[in-house]
Symmetry: C2
Subunit: 555 residues, 2 copies
Amino acid sequence: MSETVKTNKPEILYEVKAQRGPTLRCKGWKQESILRMLENNMENAEIPELLVIYGGNGKCARNWESYHAIVKSLKELEDNETLVIQSGMPVAIFKTNKLAPRVVMATTNIMKADWETFYDLQDKNLTIFAQYTAAPWEYIGTQGVIQGTFETLSAIAIKRFNNDLAGRVYMTAGAGGMGGNQSWAMKMHGGVAIIVDADERVIDRRIEKNYLDQKVYSLDEALEIVNEAVAKKEPTSVAIVGNAADVFEEAYQKGFMPDIISEMCPCHDPISYIPSGYTGVEADEYRAKDRVAYLADARATMIRQLETMNKFYAKGVEVFEYGTSIRKECRDAGMPEEEAMTIPGFVSEYIRPLFCEGRGPFRWTCLSGDPEDLKRTDDLALEICKGDPLVERWIKLARKNLPIEGLPARICYMGFGQRRKFGLAVNELIKKGEIKGPVAFSRDNLDSGSIVNPTFESENMMDGGDLISDWPYLNGLLNCAAGCDLIAIQANYSMGEAVHTGVTMVADGTEEADVRLDASLTVDSGIGVIRHAQAGYQTAKDVANGVGKLTTDSI
Amino acid sequence: MSETVKTNKPEILYEVKAQRGPTLRCKGWKQESILRMLENNMENAEIPELLVIYGGNGKCARNWESYHAIVKSLKELEDNETLVIQSGMPVAIFKTNKLAPRVVMATTNIMKADWETFYDLQDKNLTIFAQYTAAPWEYIGTQGVIQGTFETLSAIAIKRFNNDLAGRVYMTAGAGGMGGNQSWAMKMHGGVAIIVDADERVIDRRIEKNYLDQKVYSLDEALEIVNEAVAKKEPTSVAIVGNAADVFEEAYQKGFMPDIISEMCPCHDPISYIPSGYTGVEADEYRAKDRVAYLADARATMIRQLETMNKFYAKGVEVFEYGTSIRKECRDAGMPEEEAMTIPGFVSEYIRPLFCEGRGPFRWTCLSGDPEDLKRTDDLALEICKGDPLVERWIKLARKNLPIEGLPARICYMGFGQRRKFGLAVNELIKKGEIKGPVAFSRDNLDSGSIVNPTFESENMMDGGDLISDWPYLNGLLNCAAGCDLIAIQANYSMGEAVHTGVTMVADGTEEADVRLDASLTVDSGIGVIRHAQAGYQTAKDVANGVGKLTTDSI
Ligand SMILES: NC(=O)c1ccc[n+]([C@@H]2O[C@H](COP(=O)([O-])OP(=O)(O)OC[C@H]3O[C@@H](n4cnc5c(N)ncnc54)[C@H](O)[C@@H]3O)[C@@H](O)[C@H]2O)c1
Ligand SMILES: NC(=O)c1ccc[n+]([C@@H]2O[C@H](COP(=O)([O-])OP(=O)(O)OC[C@H]3O[C@@H](n4cnc5c(N)ncnc54)[C@H](O)[C@@H]3O)[C@@H](O)[C@H]2O)c1
């Protein structure tokens, strides 16, 4: 008997690669583009056999049956139909009209949401976790995270260091899934990164993948390397095996003053935070043995870590929280509110000014699969955004330093006005044949008008509107009205903590795409500008009135 | 000095009446129709000077400044633009395209919502309460509530009483804002209603307005009237001044068996529920004096009321909870879970089978203001839905019994397929001039695909998906894709308890309206059918497959 007969399992795909080239499998390029985006998600997936794209639980489909049904539906979808996806399961196709989206989705939306409720509904096969770009098929690999840190450091460079981080030192902690990208981003800026991680296994993995240059076991060894690199203004990164609380304290006591300090330990989930005195392996054992004692120890260490960060802050070092919840967790663990909230969060400090210009993690994917198409779009971005230091610096560095993962893609913090201009120009080049295949525009969650998350993107709004979640829904409806090709309304972050809208717009060289891109690339960042203008930010008011720096478009 | 100079207040409108007739103030009939719907809301408003439409706090605009700005925006809005409203405030106009909605809104959406948070944000002028039809400008007066009860009673008539309630008795309690409509609905069915209310002032108001026929002070007096009416099969209603718990108990002890029992006391808010032994006035005093003792007393009475209802249920009487939360409140007050949950909720018992056919409180408003237009549409409804007992009975009774409030409007539980057919036929009659002005289609919250509310519309779903809120968002996006003219995503009910989508679609006799109505009247109820089919309801599966009773349309 053959194996397939024996196992009696349905045939499932364990590896998906995005189709490249000019062959059309669907009834139009919009549908084909969306299908390739889905396949590209899978090509970059963490655990493709489980349809998990990234973040440990962010899925692109409910199950394999749904995956295949989605692929089939996209192949059969007409140019005037809309496919409806409910938490990763295709549930209907309706006749709409030519300018309507081809796909609408809603994922992970749950009333009275908490994790227990979510897991219960997931067990009933009624929902999945969206993550930000997993469910709406917009993941493009690690570039997104690197760029997020890069732009944060850019904002700091402009604010404090005359727009230049060469010879500057960024001390941080946590070399994990997200945190491991910090060294790369700092090196792209020409600076020096020190990353403390208590788990040597994680550091070794990062060194292997070239995300870290060197590993040491003490602050003193690290400082030797760092001082030399600073003197020569040479970019480098060094990992210290140790606990963030201990190493930060030692650095402070020894009078070592880095230029920038943050950390990406898993503070939001204290049972993952490693207490002082334990290696990664020891922490695993301790955690399994005595959860309660572990948590008490972890919280005590975390408070020491934040206390030291506060001390550096008091000395004038650029210190910030990088979305790990360390401030909230320390407060909940007993640190006085005011002390816990000393340092600023990175969004309200560095990213919100960008939001006011309608900037955020805009990105595009070249669906031909041809690296030449990416090159042409990179050139075009430099052309269109000439004189915008943010775009110019990033594109020049990214094209040199970042590998292609899956379909060639580029992320870029373009703002209101720039996106529309760029999108239309890309469509023009496709028309002319200078770009060989369609290009899909999308973005990550951290965008100007697409998300509400009161402990992150919408923290500390000027008008106190941190919790108002009308905005992501308006973003979704407006994108839908404007002819965006795929729209997804999703819950995210911790359960009940965030809502955002994902969008994909396709340039395929048609006149129809001109109409769609013109409107959707305007409204998507436009509603972000409006939201910040409403909240009282002057830059946003200027942009809305057509007197911003990037564009003369107005709303 | 003249008064206007003296007061120095901005000129505000305290009374708005919807424009009637053929004069167009906007750049197209869609915009004009939406403007008239807004004005009609105000014409029917509870407290127009505060922009409160109904339900005590449901508003149509953030403030008067917003109101005037909305009117102005609608007047200036082009045929390819979309106006964006965030919780009653117009925030932007974007160029979209001709088939896009003219208005998109999001209202009352708040993260981590509770009443305290809501009030805080409302105080900051960042949100308003949507109610169901207030914020999206779809309120049409009391007809909606009467019809809700009418259809519930219809479902019971079909289930138990050979589709005829003449000579049947409905015993209930609570003659307040919603509850007061129960007698009217029962009388429209030709039956007899007994309503117990502890507050004589409320009963007097209802009698004055013709919602109740007679007032008595004891069960015995009531039974005399009731027995005579039943014998003659004459419709009538009688109010008993008394406490529901006491009167229900007495009825049970005396062996009086009504055919149907429910209640609409404010159980969801126990501080409004009147404890046994207190009149309305006395309860007001008691409440002010000792809140804690009041609540304990109220809960004890409520438990007695539900215990008696359970006893009637055990005897085979048709007893149900009418969305007051009496079961949940009694459970929370200490009644054992199983006992508290004895009787069914009305949605899962009577309304869900209608949802499976895509039915729900669909309605239309004749924007000419001409009662002849309503007559013509009533006739048309009877024509199109010939043989559907639900539509036939209601339309015949409604046109005879219900007054016109504001612009002539009709609510009607049409289902999937019927709505599309009806909408297109209306548009045809407008084209031909048989209907004199545009007609706007909308609906209330209690619709098949538009809402999630785990203690109400989505309670007790077959697949356990009560809490899945992807559906209303999909409804909103799909309607937007289908060319619906106004779409609103809203939070509702108690804070954090419900989300729904409101829609308005305009028939103005154009070809464009044909395209829009064809798609939007299909998707709006269609996604409701799909949701119920997904959950496992056979009727819904049949309807989706084109083998339902009402239509051969399929999805
Ligand atoms: N700023 C952003 O945009 C952003 C985005 C995503 C996640 N985050 C947050 O960043 C944090 C890290 O995310 P991740 O995906 O990298 O987590 P991860 O679990 O993959 O990695 C965490 C790393 O921290 C190390 N660590 C734990 N305790 C430590 C201690 N006391 N001292 C030194 N090292 C310690 C662990 O060994 C591990 O390598 C999380 O709190 C996450 O929520 C921020
Ligand atoms: N089924 C539905 O579609 C639906 C819709 C809206 C509201 N509701 C629910 O219906 C209930 C009533 O709503 P409403 O707007 O009519 O409220 P309301 O406050 O206007 O009226 C309640 C009435 O109940 C009377 N009452 C209070 N306690 C009593 C008692 N123990 N015995 C007799 N009478 C008593 C009061 O005097 C008052 O007249 C609420 O719980 C509401 O949430 C149901």
